[in-house]
Symmetry: C2
Subunit: 179 residues, 2 copies
């Protein structure tokens, strides 16, 4: 059993897994190194400094997220905006997506505070989701582009309310609005 070659590329998956499981708050060099079966020394060696490592990991995770969207896309389009939203919210509730969701709010918080690298990752993920949403809009939708932007807004608002224990509020609001 030869030890796996060490590089950014072989490190990133393990680092991303650790960040997805434990969050960015506890993403310090030694725990990360342990998760990647290396030493903090080598993480600095390969990434230069921690800030760069986090940036790279967030970019890598954004890539995973994008792939997950692609994987979920195969099915046929939705037949209505309601169905479209319902599908996405259902996907967000899946246990497999939970680590993404929890991490997502940390990224948003970092983005809002201007932490380097966070905004780029957040922007990328939102752009991917928006593009994906456009492909999922009903075929006969009068305004798929604008509609996708609108649905994205409602979806993210709904997810946020769920994150703070107001899932019911979001649900009742969507019912009241006909969505």
């Amino acid at each position: 059993m030869k030890p796996a070659p060490l590089s950014r590329e072989t490190l990133l998956p393990k680092l991303a897994a650790h960040v997805l499981e434990h969050g960015l708050g506890s993403a310090s060099l030694r725990p990360l190194a342990k998760a990647a079966e290396t030493s903090d020394r080598m993480l600095i060696y390969h990434f230069g400094k921690k800030e760069q490592l986090i940036t790279d990991v967030l970019g890598y995770i954004a890539g995973i997220y994008s792939a997950a969207l692609d994987a979920a896309m195969g099915e046929e389009r939705a037949t209505s905006r309601q169905q479209c939203i319902a599908r996405i919210l259902a996907q967000g509730r899946e246990p497999a997506m939970q680590p993404f969701m929890v991490l997502w709010w940390e990224i948003v918080a970092g983005s809002a505070r201007g932490v380097p690298g966070y905004r780029e990752a957040a922007e990328q993920m939102m752009s991917e989701l928006l593009a994906w949403l456009e492909t999922q809009m009903p075929e006969d939708d009068p305004d798929p582009v604008g509609g996708a932007r609108y649905l994205l807004t409602v979806i993210e608002g709904s997810l946020m309310l769920s994150a703070v224990g107001h899932a019911r509020t979001a649900r009742e609001g969507m019912i009241a609005s006909g969505l």
Copy 2:
């Protein structure tokens, strides 16, 4: 110049000010103590442990937020849902609200990750905002309660998109939806 008496009540305003300015990430005992003109020793003495301190500070900030909403409420109701949303988003863009906004996403992130005390503060703030929104709904609105829930969802989604550099997406979505 007698030194101000030291207690939870006299400490909280200064602690809250520091948290609003610098965020929860750098809210460690020594900086907080310096901001409150005391020592970390005394913070622990008065609050027991840091977790309790943070919980109390978040509760205090939620109170400030509530008061800010009340202060902004004086004017007459909106005449349409569009105007209602526009007002609130305009208020959220005000420089004075910026610290609240930035802190808000840290609270959401903590709530999503289950950090003790965060969820309660977030839930309280959302409930206050929802109640306030209901009072701001147009007088002739067919469903003020459900409408307020719907508008809250859209508003929070819009604020999130703004926080990650997608303000334009949110704006275009609202235009496309007629809001």
